[in-house]
Symmetry: C2
Subunit: 155 residues, 2 copies
């Protein structure tokens, strides 16, 4: 399975990069991982312009590939780790070979992005920095594949 | 406000320790933070014995102090970051000067612990490693105090 993480901006904190590197390495036996960092536009005066510009870049990535698109969204579906593992297994079984996980920037994404994805997934009702969210997502992706591959992995 | 993180075992991953150090440092202007690492008993043959032994240590910590006890629990309350910030402000206003946040070990905690706390708080329907959970919790504690202190802090 190809897993693409579509996200905004470069990671500034070393500890986040180190954590991402750790899970990226562990994942290599299950998936082909690709982290696509798009330009961050948070320097714009108007937040809506930032959102539109970043969302446009996300939409370009979505339309480029024939992937299944999952947006991390506060209003998304709540699924536990075991069921998310099964969900991805099902996608594989119906012939999907590539999944895009999309993490919006600090101001979120446009309605257009929300309407263009195949699934919206809620991680928490708490707000996290989008950069830390990248690490949290990678841990879960690793967990989902560890479950379906019967790899013992701690809680 | 005194914030005590009651948790199980030493952190093994450097990136988690680095992240915890980062938020601990940022928090010093708002709170007096104390991380209480209890012994991990996951080497026991019987999972229930591990849970009971770790839970006993947690209960000792709870009974020691006059703190408000919040357990991280999959069946806990779902509150967003803004409301959690207000919740803590309210605790302060009614004279509470110390909060214990309790993160169980990889096998969870006993019913006795669940019944002894003042509040159960849900972070996510996903399962996270309890060590990574410590970093995720510290980020949120920082966020809640940043909100109530009007500190600009990114999403």
């Amino acid at each position: 399975m190809n897993i693409n993480i579509i996200c905004i901006g470069k990671i500034k904190d070393k500890y986040i990069n180190d954590g991402i590197a750790e899970f990226s390495k562990r994942m290599t036996s299950f998936v082909s991982l690709n982290i696509i960092e798009l330009k961050e536009y948070n320097k714009e005066d108007n937040i809506n312009i930032s959102i539109e510009k970043e969302s446009l870049e996300i939409l370009k990535q979505i339309s480029k590939s024939n992937s299944y698109n999952i947006l991390l969204d506060l209003e998304g579906k709540e699924i536990n780790s075991e069921n998310m593992s099964k969900y991805i297994e099902n996608l594989k079984n119906i012939g999907i070979s590539s999944i895009n996980f999309i993490i919006g920037g600090s101001n979120g994404v446009s309605k257009n992005v929300k309407n263009s994805v195949d699934m919206k997934l809620k991680f928490s009702h708490f707000t996290f920095p989008h950069q830390l969210m990248r690490l949290i997502l990678l841990e879960q992706v690793y967990r989902w594949f560890a479950i379906s591959n019967n790899i013992k992995y701690h809680k």
